[in-house]
């Protein structure tokens, strides 16, 4: 496996294996200098959220699932 090239006379570099968790990214500071702001929204779906979602999903499903599945054939590609 190729190693990064080094200047002549420099120490040979060890393979680039991940070390312990060092230099992880610091979270981006928030505008007011307080706690760091996450880039991914926090929270989780509750049971009530799920029930509401499933009520809506019912509306958009085909009535006859078997027929729906049977008709979905394709050639296949890459």
């Amino acid at each position: 496996m190729s190693q990064k090239q080094v200047r002549p006379g420099a120490k040979k570099e060890e393979p680039t294996q991940p070390r312990e968790h060092k230099k992880k990214p610091e979270a981006a500071p928030s505008k007011d200098g307080g706690a760091a702001a996450a880039t991914v929204p926090k929270g989780s779906k509750t049971k009530e959220d799920l029930d509401k979602l499933l009520d809506e999903v019912d509306d958009i499903l085909e009535e006859n699932a078997e027929e729906f599945v049977r008709t979905y054939v394709q050639r296949g590609g890459e």
Binding site: A10, P41, K45, G76
Partner: protein
Amino acid sequence: MSSGEEKIILKPSTLIMVKILIEQEKQRFVPCGIETEFGMICKGTDPWYAGRNFVYDLAHPIMGFDKSGMAWDPSARLSDQERSAKSVPPASEREEHEFFLQKTWREGGNHLLPPGARFYDDAQAELSTPLCHNPNMVVVWSRAGYRWIDDLRKKYQEILGKEYRIYRNNVAFREIDSYAGFRRHRVSYACHENYTISRSVSWETLIPVFSSWFVLRTPLIGAGKVGADEDSPWVDFQMSQRADFFDCLYGPQTTANRPVYNTRDTAYADEALYRRMHVITGDSNMCELSEYLKFGLTSILVMMAEDGRADSHFELLDPVRSFGKVSRDIEFRELLDFKNRRERKTLLDCLKEYADLFWNYLEICQPDNEIYKDVVRRFYEIIALLETRDLGALFGKSDWATKLFIIKGACERKGQTFRSDFAMTLDRQYHDNDHEGGIFFRQVQNDPLTVRIAADEAIERAMVEPPPTRSRWITETIFKFREWVSSSDFWHTITFFLRDTRKIKILKFDSPYILWDEELAARLFSLTLPEFLEAVPNAGLDAVVKDREELIFTYLSCRDRRYDPDDDGEFVQLPLPWRL
């Protein structure tokens, strides 16, 4: 880089790229793009022909597209480099692709869309994004493309009364066993990724480094699937749609005997300097974050490989078998075996190691490259969520987790199992490309927990405007000089036939790194075609113009009108304002 740290010696081809970017005061990037195959059915049409009809009927005068068939040379699909990687009879590959030479395909099976995207028939209807320069761009222009397909679906309904259903997934049945009443044998279709990588990176690096990454990144990019395929034992649900369809480690095939590392690498650029890494393992992603991580993290690994900083630490003992194992490991409990280390690791431990590796590399080699650093920050956050095993927390951030959350809840409510048609219907409906009708677009896209990468305004603009990359040069050149264009591959080469002098000229934009330049474009496009062909090789665009003796394809025109989504049915010319 601070003093005292070792100087990074870059390979010559990398130096060329970095030089271009430093001159442009831009950060380093990896040119990339997506090819998406769509599943299509149409009421009253044999499903085997639905996708093909969708593409070819765009040439119907009433649809408003001019004939835009572009001639395509099938031998360009294979290069000497990929033939040397594995022994495959080139003749059989040529035969498979010879339909590209047929007049009907050229006249109706291959369309250049205004944003520089290509839409074409290749067994399944397929859409390629224009060439992009970073994961943000990829998400914007891919979403614009998916909007195009949905808008065309609505046009077909309004104008021709055709009711298409279009799915951005990766499995369907090939046929129904009507006697037994059971479904037999599913087929797969793809979502391919393409990355420019220096030709100096060898197969000995590419295959072990990237084959392992393609397997281990599955929790980030898997679209999820009910069931199993290709004689694998049944499983209620797995993370990857594609894993079951892979049979070997490397090779050029894409439709059978699929390899984890695909060795097709026709560069559509200077073949001596560049390779195109063609990735076929990934699923089609509805979640923007999955697509963003897919392209962003793989691009970081590309840059590491170019810099000689990717080694065999993650090389799996058996990547093909591990792909299926990883796909089914939705609880992240399994231990994986590696070639170069004794310790076995779980999937999440591997992802954490990758995150540290990517972050350390960026801190040392590209400390100011905020585009890729943002990708790694989000990577850390997703790993933390995967560790909770809370599907509700992963909602809108991971396709397989979102889909499993919905299907599991729905099956429990209805008293159905994952083996039911009900579960399979939900699986497919998640991928419905109907932007007002599918499960993803109605229940997930605008949810507060969903991570959006592309702004809606950016997507709207991207429907009519190419990205500021080589694709814009190609697209604008074709539209400007369309009367003389004989053929093009839409990425690299345009062939012109100058009727008055009977000369054939081949223009190649040899670098995938060139940037759009509004002022330069205004000067060049004010010229006549002969003047343009004289000037462009000296314009700093890495372009060459050559004579060609034989003209293979004589017919061509392309769209001279642009698509206006607010229009009633007439396609109208739109201006092209450009703002960064």
